[in-house]
């Protein structure tokens, strides 16, 4: 393994490299095949009779645009956007809870669309606009959606809250006047354990009224 330096090496055999990986790692590896713009040039390997670009398995240099700022990092291709944000860029508003696209606590905007950051590879998020909950705070002022969450007491432990706030932002961007069905549909991918849904419902209604 490699400590801090970036190492690119040619896999001896692509199948051998892929053997013994977990289902989740496999999903991550297989999605890289959809060639994404990356800084380092991928290696080409033969797979199923076609040349497939492969990054890694060592660290590769990457570049991100998060909340309007540029970040550089050297990461293994298997690192998720969520872990890159939290552990490399120290942007911790998006939370790691289920780590497999079930709870929505890691919701961020990727080119203004809500995604589960735990299920997007960091390498795939390059060249896209990444927006986290931190960006909604402008000059120390809460965004009207955030203010609506405060007013309606829509957080208790608060660990799911950033995900809900971001999902709510994506919904109101898409449906400025959401119907109850819009709300249920757009926020159905987020879960809360303390039971703040009543407050969240009130917050969404308030934010929509104020044209947030």
């Amino acid at each position: 393994m490699h400590d801090d330096e970036t190492v690119l090496k040619e896999p001896k055999n692509a199948n051998e490299e892929n053997s013994g990986v977990s289902r989740r790692d496999f999903l991550k590896i297989s999605t890289i095949a959809a060639a994404v713009p990356v800084v380092a040039k991928p290696n080409l390997v033969m797979a199923a009779g076609a040349e497939v670009p492969v990054h890694g398995p060592g660290k590769v240099p990457m570049q991100f645009n998060v909340n309007g700022k540029s970040y550089k990092a050297s990461l293994e291709p298997r690192v998720t956007l969520l872990d890159a944000l939290r552990d490399t860029m120290d942007i911790t508003g998006a939370k790691r809870v289920c780590d497999r696209a079930e709870c929505g606590s890691c919701t961020v905007l990727l080119d203004d669309k809500a995604v589960y950051a735990c299920s997007v590879l960091a390498i795939e998020a390059q060249g896209k606009k990444i927006t986290t909950v931190e960006a909604l705070l402008e000059g120390g002022q809460l965004h009207p959606i955030q203010q609506a969450f405060v007013d309606n007491d829509a957080s208790q432990c608060g660990f799911c809250t950033p995900g809900f706030v971001v999902a709510c932002k994506a919904m109101l961007d898409k449906h400025p006047n959401p119907t109850p069905d819009d709300v249920l549909h757009e926020l159905s991918g987020n879960l809360c354990r303390c039971g703040t849904y009543a407050g969240i419902r009130g917050a969404v209604a308030q934010a929509a009224r104020k044209g947030a």
Binding site: V97, L142, F149, D153, Q156, C157, F159, S188, R193, G199
Partner: protein
């Protein structure tokens, strides 16, 4: 004598109002830092290798390949070769590495050989005669229980009941003490009856039968009862599923000073639990936490993984190591509520008078078995016969879960009572009230019942069982009552008023999402005539005065009482300093609206800042203490014993078996309410959590492999926004309630939802689905049984 008493309504400015949570802005903007978010310089990432089998022996461990991997900084063997593992997911070896992926690779490179042993993960009804083989405890039994984190009180109760099969020497006691065996257990062994002749004679059983309990003359009462109903009721093992998983970051400043960030409900209580296993004084351990992403009763100790994290850090030269549980481990090993099931027989008179209760109950809390839930719950039936069997199995250890044992007891009791009421064709509203004198809080319930009925529209909605089905949708209503203690725990704080007018409070408590910060700030600001935002709060650190763990609804009473004492003393000291400037006696001064003014001449005043400038060079600092023992608090500002009534309305699709809760009502008493807005949120949260465990949640164990089948958030289902109906919450306030003092609220409203929803489903369908969660398969099975019976 300072006037510590809670102010009467006309002298409160913030207490009892609707104040927004003070830490909400941090939480909604991602600024709140949780333990999971703490990134210390040079952070290493910890991972745990967990046993794959429910019951096995570790044969060998080979870490050589992992040791050679670049980036691996420390390896700690948690349980050595030869150790017995009693649940799948138990800790075996831990690794710390420079990043998470390297740590994961290192874990995969460790070779462990196990010898599989027979396991039991079922909590099905114990076979007849099971559990009677339990005899005195051997030294091995005790060792096993301690290794398996069986609660102290349970070990002690078994020792009292069965005695021991060995004669311990003074050296044994000394060794036990050095190994960290709690003093209370050692004392219980000393007092236990010794039966050496039984050594090795009793076969170990998974079933532990408690002594049968009888009260009154149940046989006679049943023979004279005019209606007898029998049923099977239960609630399965569920998990806590905290959004922020358990875990910590540990680092050593030097060889014997540790700094720990931990996700915990018990900041002040952690250092003492880490000291012995790490062989350093508790005073050398600093524990810090700003925010915690949920606990619900599962985060009181450092846990074996917390101790291991500190050991990894030491091996890595003191560098910070973070180990947070992965989601599957969080669900497998970090928290489970014990199950409880019972075959219950209830006898009543024609007029609805409850005369007799009989129950044969069982349940599991994992390796420890678990105790009997308090049944019959709330209603002390005059004649009772009860027996309970605890199942010791390999599902992993149990932890306290919001109102330990009460939600299960409510299901076992309130459903059985509703069944007998249905048999008598009596509205359960009338039935419960008819027997309300059998409860400890009849007056509270009597006041709450009509309010709940009004909010639900009970009179219009209740109908005899199964008589409101149209277009395949069956509608019904159900109710339940509950109780809880909630007295404030021991709490200490320091409150300072500074010469520049700023105010701070230091307290080693924690805000687990229940609004503890806000509660402290409201109490302080109310007494000083300031705004909540004027109070600077320092909590969540062992450097501040200790305050109890947040469990059992003890925090509001504890922190509000210690704050009240400190703030009254500090305010009085300030008034004494200011009095000469206003040519007044301190007694004639009042702090209100950011001013100090004369009660006799409100026009005469000075503003807060100017008043504080007269303090002198050093701040006024006062200490506040609330004692665990009520008698030591003069006056006592907290109290115990609350009652609540809940009602549920459901719509059941008789073709799909899907249950929708369409409305829930909660009427709750909790003494003097500090912040009504947060109190209502707490109750709504409990209703929502209740809907979740009533309809969806169950820790599903595979009998063949012994592992949990749903350790994720897709198949361990939590209620979502779509599952939440209209919720109506009414808090009892004013005369008869306020003057009782502050009482905690976390547990009580989480007790009744299971029973209320189950009763509503029974009312809708005309048939009981006795065991939670009420899933479509159980509903359809119940419907088809009645159809068969009718055919």
């Amino acid at each position: 004598m300072p006037d510590y008493q809670w102010p009467d309504p006309e002298h409160r400015t913030l207490i009892g109002q609707r104040v927004s949570r003070v830490d909400s802005p941090d939480k909604v903007s991602g600024q709140a830092r949780y333990t999971y978010d703490v990134k210390r310089p040079g952070l290493l990432f910890g991972k745990m290798l967990r046993a794959p089998y429910a019951h096995c022996k570790i044969v060998s461990i080979d870490t050589s390949a992992a040791e050679k991997m670049a980036g691996v900084k420390a390896i700690e063997i948690v349980q050595k070769a030869g150790a017995n593992i009693h649940w799948a997911g138990d800790e075996v070896v831990a690794v710390a590495a420079v990043d998470e992926t390297t740590a994961e690779d290192a874990i995969r490179a460790i070779q462990v050989k196990y010898q599989k042993l027979p396991h039991l993960v079922s909590d099905a009804e114990p076979p007849q005669g099971a559990g009677e083989s339990q005899g005195p405890l051997s030294m091995d039994d005790l060792g096993d229980m301690l290794d398996n984190q069986v609660p102290e009180r349970q070990i002690i109760s078994l020792l009292e009941q069965y005695g021991v099969s060995f004669k311990a020497t003074e050296q044994d006691y000394k060794d036990a003490k050095e190994e960290g065996v709690p003093d209370s257990v050692i004392d219980a062994v000393r007092k236990a009856a010794v039966h050496p002749e039984e050594e090795g004679k009793t076969t170990k059983s998974n079933y532990v039968k408690a002594a049968a309990q009888t009260q009154g003359d149940p046989d006679k009462a049943f023979s004279e009862a005019e209606a007898v109903s029998e049923g099977l009721y239960g609630a399965p093992v569920i998990t806590h599923c905290c959004m922020e998983s358990h875990g910590s970051t540990s680092e050593w400043a030097d060889d014997d000073h540790l700094f720990v960030h931990m996700s915990t409900q018990n900041v002040s209580g952690i250092a003492g639990q880490m000291a012995e296993p790490l062989k350093i004084p508790a005073a050398n351990i600093r524990v810090h936490q700003d925010h915690v992403g949920g606990g619900f009763g599962s985060k009181f100790g450092p846990d074996r993984w917390g101790i291991t994290t500190a050991k990894l850090s030491k091996k890595a030269g003191g560098k910070p190591v973070r180990m947070m549980l992965e989601r599957d481990s969080e669900l497998k090993v970090a928290g489970a509520r014990p199950s409880a099931y019972a075959r219950v027989k209830v006898g009543a008179k024609k007029d609805g008078t409850l005369v007799a209760w009989q129950s044969r109950s069982w349940g599991t809390g994992g390796p420890g078995g678990g105790g009997m839930p308090p049944i019959p719950y709330c209603f002390a039936a005059p004649n009772q016969k009860k027996e309970h069997t605890a199942i010791r199995n390999n599902i992993g250890p149990a932890r306290a879960w919001r109102a330990p044992n009460h939600p299960q007891a409510a299901v076992l009791t309130m459903c059985a009572l509703e069944d007998v009421a249905a048999k008598l064709n009596i509205d359960p509203y009338e039935f419960f009230l008819k027997n309300i004198e059998l409860t400890k809080l009849p007056q509270v319930y009597r006041e709450e019942f009509p309010i709940a009925a009004e909010l639900m529209g009970w009179k219009e909605k209740w109908h005899p069982r199964g008589q409101n089905i149209s277009n395949g949708i069956a509608r019904g209503v159900g109710l339940s009552i509950h109780t809880w203690g909630g007295r404030g725990h021991a709490s200490d704080c320091d409150l300072s008023i500074h010469p520049d007018g700023s105010v701070d409070i230091k307290m080693g408590t924690q805000d687990i999402g229940t609004g503890t910060r806000t509660c402290i700030a409201v109490v302080a600001a109310d007494a000083l005539g300031l705004k909540v935002g004027d109070i600077k709060l320092y909590i969540g650190d062992t450097q501040y005065p200790p305050s109890g763990g947040s469990g059992g609804s003890t925090t509001p009473g504890g922190v509000s009482s210690s704050t009240r004492r400190a703030v009254v003393d500090a305010r009085d000291a300030l008034l004494a300093k200011v009095a000469p400037a206003l040519n007044a006696q301190p007694d004639d001064l009042v702090a209100k609206d950011g001013k100090i003014s004369l009660k006799s001449d409100p026009g005469k005043s000075i503003n807060w800042k100017e008043a504080c400038s007269r303090i002198g060079a050093t701040p006024i600092t006062c200490h506040g203490h609330n004692d665990q023992a009520a008698a030591k608090n003069k006056p006592d500002l907290t109290n115990s014993g609350v009652g609540g009534v809940q009602m549920a309305e459901v719509a059941v699709d008789t073709e799909t078996g899907i249950v929708k809760v369409t409305k829930m009502v909660a009427v709750q008493d909790c003494g003097l309410i500090i912040d009504v807005k947060m109190a209502e949120s707490s109750v709504m949260g409990a209703l929502i959590m209740g809907i979740s465990y009533s309809l969806f949640e169950e820790k599903v164990m595979d009998p063949t492999t012994g592992i949990m089948l749903n350790p994720d958030m897709e198949f361990y289902r939590l209620a979502g926004l779509n599952d939440i109906p209209e919720l109506k919450v009414h808090m009892m306030t004013g005369k008869g309630y306020d003057e009782r003092g502050v009482i905690g609220l976390g547990e009580p409203p989480a007790v009744s939802p299971g029973a209320a929803i189950s009763n509503a489903v029974a009312n809708a369908l005309g048939v009981r689905v006795g065991v939670l969660p009420i899933t479509p398969d159980k509903v359809l099975a119940a419907i088809s049984q009645t159809q068969k019976a009718g055919a």
